[in-house]
Symmetry: C2
Subunit: 221 residues, 2 copies
């Protein structure tokens, strides 16, 4: 209950803490100070203490953090202590890539079905998951526990697919289509806009190389 | 030159402006007011005016923005007015998905080569791009213009691949491996951490459903 009202900035950082703590666990590290963790993660120790205090704080003065305990607690806060059943809409390259990510399964995300409209891919077997026809989407959701739907269809079809998913009762959408979906407030979502990430990289590259060529010409800033 | 010293929050929003303006252009919209654009994008009109003022502001009092001009200018600022040559390291599902994204090419990102260590995929043809051996990486970079390298290899190999790329002269890395790369300051990067996005979605879903079940039980907040 104590994790209510936490800023989205903190939530944004939690998966990163979880990832780092998982790496420490793999290396059999039992405990870590906020200072060590801060060096590893390249944030300030006070930021780490502040972030983790949001969840009641799991550190002990003079001892630091118990890695396994913190890892488990953050996992619980993120909802990784239960299985999330995922369906993927769109069996193109990206949809198939997501279906093939065994890493997700370790975190409790189980891909249970993939859907597509293309007869050429319907029936195809991806890691034991058969691509189904979009015509079966409604009945599949009605008959199975589905927590999350990933949308990897082309932009022009995304809004319709999202509306259908919401109508069929889906409450969480992981959107890869390069468009912003308009969803009712009770439906949560995360967007992965690959093209936008690539454009930001292009911006950084352009400005870094302009800075560089100015420095080379000697006219500085 | 006026686009120096712009906050990263503004930079983060630019690709989204670019996307919306592109959609307007497709619909043959010639001009738009900051108010209309703000409704469409679900941000305040003053935010839009403030953001665009960073670049000298392209709006005219009483007229609004010329869509094509603004689209072209933001594209130029993002560096989309020139071709960026991209190589992909890792020809797994994700690497192949990126290579197949024709959408990137429209924005000037041309995938010119894909590399892998797996003999089973080396030689495979993806949309006319042949998968090459990692052994050819250094000579390829030496002999061709390469602006951006995407890393889609497993986590445990990512640091080594990044170090090699930097050594061979790459200045921009698009990282999909679920790890933070340690790069020299002159190398820019963007991370796409899919698992972290999925965990944030899981968090939102968990908290939304807890809120809901509390409301159903009638014990509110």
């Amino acid at each position: 209950m104590y994790e209510r009202g936490i800023s989205s900035a903190v939530i944004k950082r939690l998966p990163r803490y979880y990832r780092y703590l998982g790496e420490l666990l793999e290396k059999d590290v039992i405990r870590i100070s906020s200072k060590e963790l801060s060096v590893k993660m390249n944030v300030t120790a006070s930021q780490i203490r502040q972030d983790l205090n949001n969840f009641g704080g799991f550190g002990q003065q003079g001892y630091g953090y118990n890695v396994e305990y913190l890892y488990t607690e953050i996992g619980r806060i993120l909802g990784l202590d239960r299985q999330n059943h995922v369906i993927i809409i769109g069996a193109g390259n990206l949809g198939q890539a997501l279906a093939n990510y065994a890493d997700f399964e370790r975190r409790g995300f189980v891909v249970c079905a993939i859907f597509d409209v293309n007869p050429e891919v319907i029936g195809k077997d991806i890691r034991g998951i058969v691509v189904r026809s979009m015509e079966d989407l409604q009945s599949f959701i009605a008959e199975n526990k589905v927590d999350i739907a990933a949308i990897t269809v082309p932009r022009q079809n995304a809004a319709k697919v999202a509306a259908d998913l919401v109508q069929y009762g889906i409450k969480a959408i992981w959107n890869f289509a390069p468009t912003d979906l308009h969803l009712p407030p009770e439906v949560v979502s995360e967007n992965v806009h690959l093209a936008e990430s690539l454009m930001r990289l292009s911006y950084k590259l352009k400005n870094a190389s302009e800075d560089l060529s100015e420095a080379e010409r000697g006219d500085g800033d």
